[in-house]
Symmetry: C2
Subunit: 287 residues, 2 copies
């Protein structure tokens, strides 16, 4: 199961999920100008970051919106980035947040688990119901693939739907419990399911409660750094130091902007930021 590979990667490298949300404004101008096409500039920037952080990132999360924004040329950079990561045996989370049903969802599953845009995990949006997940299940069962379903996010708007009270629980509880239940059919050797959940990390109250309730759900926790989450909060969502990856994108990709002459060695700044994040989380677990 792919989730076992992720568990072991976290055990060996720490919790950092390095987000390659590569906006062109993040690429140092001098570096950007070396390349003929936007495809190459984005891909070569990503490659430098990947080469320098492979040993400190448990996985890489590629946010497809940043590539879609540049049309076919952007998506060519997306494909090249995925190919490179796969070749380096890195674990890839495609942050696509697709959410559709039936034949349409089958097409999304084919798009992101096969062919040009093949990844290891996808993120999915459950608003249309739990039938949004079905077309991905054959891949999860037979093809070493996995998914993280949006349960509770940390943006201000998360209150609008996810936090609505229904009966004795909130909408996100209904979703989280159901994902945990469905996930039990796809458990790996370490007790976690290849169907995980996205749980925003900036609201740490309930961390331990959620961790205990969703006992076999692996978490993808966004919102570290740039969005305000802290290592101490993240530690609340772990069990024996594992069971979650923590994403940081801008905080790592743009770390060079805080370093003197950083633009000449942006990948070193990225590494330093990733190492620091890894160590902050590890030390918060120790506390």
């Amino acid at each position: 199961m792919i989730i076992d590979k992720l568990f072991e990667s976290v055990k060996n490298k720490g919790h950092v999920c390095l987000g390659l949300d590569t906006d062109i404004s993040y690429i140092p101008e001098k570096f950007y100008n070396k390349y003929e096409s936007i495809t190459d500039a984005i891909f070569e920037f990503n490659k430098k970051i990947i080469d320098e952080t492979l040993d400190v990132a448990a996985c890489f999360k590629v946010q497809i919106a940043y590539y879609e924004a540049y049309g076919l040329k952007g998506l060519e950079a997306y494909k090249k980035t995925l190919d490179y990561l796969r070749n380096e045996k890195a674990i890839i989370v495609a942050d696509i947040k697709r959410g559709d049903i039936a034949k349409t969802a089958e097409m999304y599953a084919k798009a992101h688990f096969e062919g040009d845009f093949e990844s290891d995990f996808v993120t999915l949006n459950p608003y249309m119901g739990f039938d949004t997940i079905e077309p991905y299940l054959p891949y999860i069962k037979e093809k070493e693939k996995g998914a993280f379903i949006l349960v509770r996010t940390s943006n201000p708007g998360s209150k609008h739907i996810q936090y609505l009270e229904t009966g004795n629980e909130r909408v996100y509880d209904v979703v989280g419990n159901k994902i945990n239940e469905i996930g039990k059919q796809y458990l790996g050797g370490h007790g976690y399911s290849s169907i995980g959940s996205v749980i925003g990390g900036t609201t740490a109250f309930e961390g331990q409660e959620i961790r205990n309730k969703l006992d076999s759900t692996f978490f993808l926790i966004p919102g570290y750094g740039a969005q305000g989450g802290t290592a101490k909060e993240v530690a609340e969502y772990l069990k024996k130091g594992n069971g979650a990856i923590v994403n940081s994108s801008r905080g790592i990709l743009q770390a060079y902007k805080k370093d003197e002459n950083g633009e000449n060695n942006f990948q070193k700044s990225a590494r330093k930021a990733a190492v620091q994040m890894r160590d902050d989380i590890l030390s918060a677990i120790g506390d």
Copy 2:
């Protein structure tokens, strides 16, 4: 406002939103084999359908999943289809169901309202909250763009989240009311907003109630034909015969499979099916 163009298109041509969910299995083999690339085969099939139905379709809905599934080559066909539709002055609904926030949503807005994948309307998923809509607003206000937000769908799983009771209403009521409220800031001359809602058409109970409550919301109603919706149900969601478009995809694209020698003239069968659908809805309104 783009919504006025759509309103007028419905007035002139009827309610058919023709879904170009072009799976390669829908393309007659003989036609498919004429083309060197999958890109050309998909695009030329779409072009034949578009040419034959421009005067009977109020708009065209392009489901991006079907194109993403074929990777870069599929998305090239997607771009060519959008370019062709735009050139023919057809109104384009990009069925992307993206749902993200902040910078990521800005990138999706840029992706689908500018550049290679420019469309007139996008569909959006509100699970993360109403801040998912914000990055699209400048385009809606200033650039003749619009959006349809998922409110209530008609798949079996719609019961899992959308129908949950919260206070005295359901989740989809909360969403529908809020979209109607936000939409009032973007009203066109016919009283409808450029921010519309996706409302599944197969559960007609409440049709008139929803229509009255969401008074300025234009509806995109999926689920006609292949998914089981009928003209009589659709009519319940209209006000003075307007205020909604009704999507059919497979029922039109594959209509030729029911006609003798249909594969030699698939576009004629598609036209016949679209005309029939248009007339069925118009006659249900008359009842």
